[in-house]
Amino acid sequence: MALSESSVPASIFEPVLEYLRHTPYALAVLVFSYFSGQLWTFLILGYLKKGAAGNRVLNSVAGKVSLGIAWFALVLVPIFYLSHQSLQFTYDNILSVAIPTLVAGLCAQVLTVAWFITWR
């Protein structure tokens, strides 16, 4: 028999479901920001500002996450506008475009890095 609401009280089941639904967004933003920051750091220090590999601000976990968040914030604006036809940012509205923003932002970045590696 499949697990359903009939075997678990709704008062427990619903909050757990909501928690599972929202928490991964925050985690995903952090993880993707770190990967994004890693790629930006690689691009900036490896290709655009050579010889600065020892830069401690950019080349740290906090620096990379910050850089990634800044990048995704930039990518979020046009996606948010396309989705909501306005720039009235609310928590729920931002969450609704979080996943496309992360995937599109990282995808654009990977293609940019691949281009740099090939042609620079």
Partner: protein, 356 residues
């Protein structure tokens, strides 16, 4: 007095010339005056590098300047004390003494090869004394194998580095060469494993036990192998695993000999861990980025894209489909496992076993 480093190998194709050039460039960038002498007169790999650098000019040394071959061809003059003005050319951050005048010069083997070790040693001593005193480091890019000239280069050097690969044949030829050279002269002799594939991560190389004479392992890097001699080679080498591992090997070498020159070991990686890159060394850097981030985007795009209330309910209600999805994910994981060569443990090279 310059530090003379003799680079040798038991067999050909171990990457001596590449290593000599990259090492010379790194030391040159450190501010040292470095000259690499191409002693591989017939193969002349380093001279070919110079030829392409000089826009494919056939003539690399102008008379009355001398190439390495000139000293060996005119060894009778050398032996009676004639001095030579060497045709040293600038190549990037270091200098090169070409093996021959012209890249297409054909040589007569008996004219070149010294008949005795004493003769070879004398020619090399004249060669080294003709190199200006302004150089800090002289790298001798010797040819593979063993003969009187290799024995002589070992005896006139500050130290020798034997470059070898991980396979059994390379190990045995290196063992033979090292045993032979140890008998010839008390010059310090070190081993360096090049094109290593059985590496888990660069960090592990720091921790792995090594013998007194071992400088470590330099991983195989397809970008480095593919682009040697190309225009973008030197641009890419700075970002390679090869450079970091070679820097570490040099720093060990310098520490053992008490040399004050330390190379930088930092490197930027497009990934969080170099462990991934070491596993993907047979892919180019661009392909590594596309593969790893492609997998990340593929998985996360699918999982996060379908991650809503309805999907969660589906997972709770239909265990059969959950099982199908789980098996699909296991299949993907198996492919990733194979592509990234995870779970591979380094093992010692075992010599070939013959039946009978």
């Amino acid at each position: 007095m310059a530090t003379v480093i003799n680079v040798v190998s038991g067999k050909g194709g171990t990457g001596k010339t590449l290593m000599s050039a990259v090492l010379a460039d790194m030391l040159g960038r450190l501010g040292l005056n470095v000259v690499v002498v191409d002693l591989d007169i017939f193969v002349r790999g380093l001279t070919v590098l110079l030829y392409f650098h000089k826009r494919e000019s056939l003539s690399l040394v102008s008379a009355p300047q001398a190439s390495v071959a000139d000293l060996f061809i005119n060894k009778n003059d050398v032996l009676i004390g004639r001095k030579y003005h060497l045709g040293i050319s600038r190549y990037r951050s270091f200098d090169v003494l070409p093996a021959v005048h012209r890249i297409d010069q054909t040589l007569n083997f008996p004219d070149i090869v010294p008949s005795t070790r004493a003769e070879a040693t004398k020619v090399l001593e004249v060669l080294l004394s003709s190199i200006p005193k302004t150089y800090d480091v002289v790298i001798l890019d010797s040819r593979a194998g063993y003969d009187e000239l290799i024995a002589a280069t070992h005896s006139v050097s500050t130290a020798s580095i034997c470059v070898e690969e991980e396979d059994g044949i390379s190990r045995v030829t290196a063992d033979n060469l090292i045993n032979q050279l140890k008998n010839d002269a008390p010059t310090p002799l070190f081993r360096l494993t090049n094109k290593a594939r059985k590496i888990e991560s660069l960090g592990d190389l720091e921790r792995e036990p090594r013998g007194i004479t071992e400088l470590g392992r330099v991983p195989f890097d397809i970008d480095v192998m593919n682009s040697f001699g190309e225009e973008d080679f030197w641009e890419g080498i700075g970002r390679s695993l090869y450079r970091v591992a070679l820097s570490r090997a040099w720093n060990r070498f310098a520490a053992k000999l008490g040399l004050p020159w330390e190379l930088k070991e930092t490197r930027l990686s497009p990934f969080v861990s170099d462990r991934i890159e070491v596993h993907l060394a047979t892919f180019t850097l661009r392909d590594r980025v596309l593969l790893v981030y492609g997998i990340l985007l593929g998985v996360s795009g699918l999982v996060l894209g379908f991650f809503d209330r309805d999907t969660l309910m589906f997972f709770f209600r239909d265990p059969i489909r959950v099982m199908a999805v789980a098996i699909g994910l296991i299949g993907l994981a198996m492919s990733v496992f194979a592509i990234l060569r995870l779970g591979r443990r380094p093992r010692d090279a075992t010599p070939l076993k013959y039946k009978g």
